[in-house]
Each structure stands twice: as structure tokens, then as C-alpha cells.
Symmetry: C2
Subunit: 79 residues, 2 copies
């Protein structure tokens, strides 16, 4: 059993209203020094050992991310 993490983020040119809202709220609430906040999705998968990287890439591209507006990174982590 392997653990796989997929991080999905809006592409840089895509607006990110959720991240923007956090970034705007922080100074009002006394936290200065945070210039940018971008919010994306974080998936943790448990997969059988025989699932290869090509399959993982396909799963990420097809089900976890929207390739039109999002970038994503797939990485295996130690269990």
C-alpha cells in the first residue's frame, strides 16, 4: 500500500476569490506581512503497490484537477 499526495492549485492567471478573501482579512485582524494567499485542493490517496505513475498521473488529470484552470503535482510519500 502506497500513499500518494496530489496538490491542485488554480493556475496563476486564474482569479482565486477564496485565497483573496483570506489575504484581505488578515491585515484587518492584526496579521501583517502576508502578501499572497492562494487556495487549492489537497488529496491523499492510498493505492495498491502495483498502481504505476502513469495511472496516477491519469487519475490526477482526469478526476482531481481541471486542466483548463488548474495545475497539479502528484507525489508519493512514505507511509
Amino acid at each position: 500500500m502506497a500513499r500518494v499526495v496530489v496538490d491542485v492549485m488554480p493556475k496563476p492567471e486564474i482569479l482565486d476569490p477564496q485565497g483573496q478573501a483570506v489575504a484581505n482579512a488578515l491585515p484587518r485582524l492584526g496579521f501583517d506581512g502576508v502578501t499572497t494567499v492562494r487556495q487549492g485542493k489537497h488529496f491523499e490517496l492510498e493505492v495498491a503497490d502495483d498502481v504505476d505513475d502513469a495511472t496516477l498521473a491519469k487519475i490526477a488529470e482526469t478526476f482531481l484537477a481541471n486542466p483548463v484552470i488548474e495545475d497539479w503535482v502528484v507525489r508519493r510519500v512514505d507511509a
Copy 2:
């Protein structure tokens, strides 16, 4: 300017319908071997160099995660 990543995940005892939906859909669509999918949030922050770890921990706990139902990890990454 430092880059900080905060990953927020539902606690293990909390149901995760979004992750469940992905996990259930995969075998139907021809991808076997994925046993668990959990979905959380991934934040990328750019912060000034004088923002210390205690402040980052406070920001994550207060604004990015809901401590009642979520776990979170704060880490600095190389720019």
C-alpha cells in the same frame, strides 16, 4: 519573502463525502487499486521574512483550518 504551505485535512474520524465520491467513482471508470481518497485544502502563502513560526501557526489555526474537524500542517518551502 518566504513561501509557506499549509495543508488542511478532515480529521480521520470525520466523514469526507468529496473524497468518498472520488474513491467510489474510480473503479467504475476503470481505475482499480485506489483504496482511499481524502480531500482537503492546500494553501500557498507568501509572507514577509519577519513573520515567525508562531504567527504562521496562529494564522493556520484561526483562518485556514477549523480545529474542531480538521488537522493541518504548516511548512516553509524554498522559494
